[in-house]
């Protein structure tokens, strides 16, 4: 489903270049549940950003479901992200003025899905995340774990093909983190959504079915468990 070929990312190419990625080749199948690990500055977040259409490649090709995302315009990338991807961030990054249910519903409304359909899908997702009773709470009134559940719900409610999670458990205690990983594993099993984690967390690395290590912008290890 994801084919990465000779991917390179060079920052500040006209002055002093920084090679964040140096020729990454990867093949990721649909429904995989994998983590990308590596030391700080190894290029894992850059790889995730390029996969998510948030950053551009300097050299190489990235195909997601046969769509060459390196050829897409800015507008097309925005639409691509909306229709195909879900994001989970380290700091949850919910809209602080929207309630939990409104945060989840918001992405459906961006897709111009009707109000009634949005409400239905939002309620189902809140139920799946185990936070129905907090539907009308603002993010500031939720714990870290609850906020991250809302963020996962937001990422999954659009039925994306791919969820990119950048250090999703970094700000959580181990018990909460484990609970969240349970939910994401369940979603991976039930919905067949591909999950890619960028992480330092050994627990996340252990629970992933495939581990890719990036060192100095290159794939140093690719292990299927």
């Amino acid at each position: 489903m994801i084919k990465i070929k000779n991917l390179e990312k060079i920052y500040n190419s006209k002055t002093i270049p920084v090679h964040a990625l140096r020729g990454v080749d990867l093949h990721i199948n649909s429904g995989e549940y994998l983590s990308i690990a590596g030391p700080s500055g190894s290029g894992k977040t850059t790889l995730l950003n390029i996969l998510g259409g948030l950053d551009s490649a300097s050299v190489g090709s990235v195909k997601v479901n046969d769509i060459e995302i390196t050829d897409l315009s800015k507008k097309e990338l925005t639409n691509f992200r909306l229709q195909n991807l879900g994001f989970v961030f380290q700091s949850y990054n919910l809209v602080p003025v929207l309630t939990a249910s409104e945060n989840i519903e918001f992405v459906l409304r961006l897709q111009n899905i009707s109000k009634s359909e949005s409400n239905k899908r939002t309620a189902e997702m809140l139920e799946a995340m185990g936070i129905s009773e907090y539907a009308d709470h603002l993010p500031g009134e939720l714990s870290g774990g609850q906020q991250q559940r809302v963020a996962i719900g937001r990422a999954l409610v659009t039925n994306p093909k791919l969820v990119l999670a950048d250090e999703p458990t970094a700000n959580l205690d181990s018990e909460t983190a484990s609970g969240l990983m349970d939910i994401m594993e369940e979603m991976n099993r039930k919905l067949g959504v591909t999950f890619i984690f960028s992480t330092h967390d050994p627990m996340v690395m252990d629970r992933a079915k495939r581990l890719i290590r990036i060192v100095d912008g290159k794939v140093a290890e690719d292990t299927i468990k």
Binding site: T15, G52, D55, R81, G86, L98, L110, N112, R154
Partner: protein, 458 residues
């Protein structure tokens, strides 16, 4: 390896090229920005963006102190502008009233030579024929035949120069200032014979009261002085010093008999409906009378008093100039506030772009915040301005201490606050428009953010 001088020269070259292209592309960029602004402005009112509207509204409540402060400053500007334009419109209307009701009327018909040499030798001989031809024109409210003669009035103690007007009081009370300004006696007393209506200031000068005898004298068509003894039938006071010191009124038959005029008159004064342009009526009268009597001149007050028209236009222009200054100052304040708000929220805005919100929707959201601030502040400011005006100065602004200066502009000493659409709607709508313009630049900036860099922002 790069040498320092090489890279420095390259940088300078790149910088100069960038400036060059910026200048060349500037007009094109402005056109694109204007189109973008119009698209976003329309999106702000698109009901499909209800979710964006909700977020925009709630964003205003995130930092209540900042929202309140900027709203107060905008409200203050709106209060000042609404007041200023209310008084300005009031002043312009007063000037208009003075000019039209103070003798010129909306349209005048006279002999073609009369305006250049106003004397009884240039009279309209058969006014009733002309009045019959024009009385059915739609838009005409009143037609008043008049005779005006530069005269003198004398009492036992003193004398004064006046413009003696022969009028029909039934008609004249509807179209001129004297009808609404009688303070003693009765305007209709002039129908009873040789009575005259004078101003209180002339009466004081002559030291006369109602019932006192005076002598009026003026030149007839041949330039010979005619005299008549009259009684004071009443006093008027308009508050317009120029008018009060000059105009005196007798009945048409009295003045016609005094100067041997039969049915002749000097002018036909015509008042028109508020909704009709005087120049349209003028043109219609001209076309009707053109074939029957080419010795007549038909003019509107605009042609008779071009200086006044220019003055009113200048005042209006001044009003709009003040608007511009206020709004530019307001826009700068709003831009600054919006930029601060965007800077604080850049991570959140980056996330919104990352999860698939289009740059257009992001721009719409930010511009909506500016629209809401200016709308609420504008509404509040407009109501406060009107409320304060009703509470503190319900009878108008009393400028008696500036009476002498105001005379020059033909203004009375009381300036009413006029609740016209210019006074209320223009400041309010303009504030929203400037708010949209002010919100557009930060919005554009936000939409161009790199989501990756924004998400990393602390």
């Amino acid at each position: 390896m790069y040498s320092n001088s090489n890279s420095s020269q390259n940088l300078q070259r790149t910088h100069r090229k960038n400036i060059f292209y910026s200048i060349i592309l500037f007009p094109w960029r402005m056109i694109l920005a204007t189109i973008d602004f119009m698209i976003i402005a329309i999106q702000c009112f698109n009901p499909k963006n209800i979710d964006i509207m909700r977020i925009a509204f709630r964003n205003l409540l995130r930092n209540k102190r900042r929202t309140i402060l900027i709203s107060i400053s905008i409200s203050g500007a709106i209060i000042g502008l609404t007041w200023m334009s209310g008084w300005m419109v009031g002043m312009i209307q007063e000037m208009n009233q003075m000019v039209i009701k103070g003798g010129l009327s909306h349209v005048q018909i006279s002999d073609e030579k009369y305006r250049d040499d106003p004397g009884l030798q240039y009279c309209i001989q058969q006014p009733s024929e002309i009045i019959n031809q024009i009385k059915d024109i739609e838009g005409i409210e009143n037609i008043s035949p008049r005779i005006s003669v530069e005269s003198m009035i004398s009492s036992a103690g003193n004398s004064s120069s006046i413009l003696l007007q022969g009028i029909n009081p039934e008609i004249e009370k509807e179209i001129s200032l004297v009808g609404e300004s009688i303070i003693d006696g009765d305007l209709f007393s002039i129908n009873n014979g040789k009575y005259i209506i004078i101003s209180q200031s002339i009466a004081s000068k002559l030291n006369v009261k109602v019932g006192s005898k005076c002598v009026i004298m003026g030149p007839n068509a041949l330039g010979e002085v005619e005299m008549e003894s009259v009684k004071v039938g009443g006093f008027y006071k308009t508050g317009y010093a120029d008018y009060d010191q000059y105009f005196a009124f007798v009945s048409l038959p009295t003045i016609q008999k005094m100067f041997g005029l039969d049915d002749a008159i000097t002018t036909i004064a015509i008042s028109v409906n508020d909704k009709v342009e005087p120049t349209i009526i003028r043109n219609e009268i001209r076309s009707i009378l053109h074939d029957s009597d080419t010795s007549l001149e038909v003019v509107s007050w605009i042609e008779i008093a071009p200086t006044m028209v220019q003055l009113m236009n200048d005042m209006e222009g001044m009003m709009y100039a003040f608007y511009s200054i206020f709004y530019i100052a307001m826009a700068f304040g709003l831009v600054n506030t919006m930029l601060m708000a965007i800077f604080e929220r850049r991570r959140e805005l980056g996330v919104l772009l990352a999860i698939g919100m289009s740059p257009r929707k992001l721009k719409t959201m930010i511009m909506l915040e500016a629209v809401y601030i200016t709308t609420f502040a504008g509404l509040f400011g407009t109501f406060v301005a009107i409320g304060l005006s009703e509470l503190l100065i319900p009878d108008g602004l009393d400028l008696a201490i500036y009476a002498e200066a105001l005379e020059t502009f033909g203004l009375s000493t009381k300036i009413p606050f006029i609740y016209s659409w210019e006074a209320m709607v223009i400041p309010f709508v303009s504030a929203i428009l400037f708010g949209m313009i002010a919100g557009f630049f930060p919005a554009r900036r936000a939409s161009k953010m790199n989501p990756v860099e924004s998400i990393r922002a602390i």
